[in-house]
Amino acid sequence: MSSNADESFLAELAAALRRVRLEAIVVGNVASILAGAPVLTQDVDLLVRDTPPNRRKLIKLAEAIGGVGPESISELTSTERIYGAAVPVDILYDRLIGGLTFASIRSRAREERVGRETLVVASLEDVIKSKTAAGRAKDRAALPILNDTLAVRRALAKKP
């Protein structure tokens, strides 16, 4: 998949979210990348509220991006996955590890342009908090560069 195809897929996802009227927040490494972190990922993580209407919208979302599901990926987690799209899309419900609720993440989230569309994206601080709490090896490996990215963003935001 070329880099232009990467952004095209995210734009397609954003357009599909808009069409099915599903409020979703991009979390995980795609949020990190949109915040400037030089990392790559294998999937897109979306945080949504777990409600019956949203469950129906997720099925429409999967169809809209050429996938199926969402389906459970393990009995050990409530995370589900949309399979078959150009990139797997993981669906997380209501909260992230680290005591982060949908509402609290939404309150700090920002809008980011992808292609001609817009995605709601979790703040880098929230991504770092969640990965720190998760503590998996792959999360711990990414934390130094995410913290460096946050330091650069803060330094650039400071007035001279």
Partner: protein, 90 residues
């Protein structure tokens, strides 16, 4: 009153060559290429960070600045995919 009435030369300020160049990215007198714009933005960011004493590996800092300076539709990379037979590909 037009420019000529006001004592200025008026008329076309740029040669035909420059007008043509303005439609070609990177040409003399034309718009900068996206790469030139990215380099300029990165140089401005580096200058702003020069006295901040960030304890960050210079190579990592460069990668972060490049990502921060890239705009939508400028070739941003997000995904890596596993290959059949092992390894990953962009």
């Amino acid at each position: 009153m037009n420019a000529r009435d006001a004592g200025r030369r008026g008329g076309r300020q740029r040669s035909a060559a420059k007008r043509a160049a303005s439609r070609r990215n990177g040409a003399l007198g034309g718009r900068p290429t996206k790469a030139q714009t990215l380099r300029g933005d990165m140089q401005a960011a580096r200058a702003k960070l020069a006295d901040r004493n960030l304890d960050i590996d210079p190579g990592d800092l460069d990668l972060i600045l490049e990502r921060l300076c890239r705009t939508p539709n400028s070739g941003r990379r997000f995904f890596i995919r596993p290959r059949q037979g092992g390894g990953f590909v962009f």
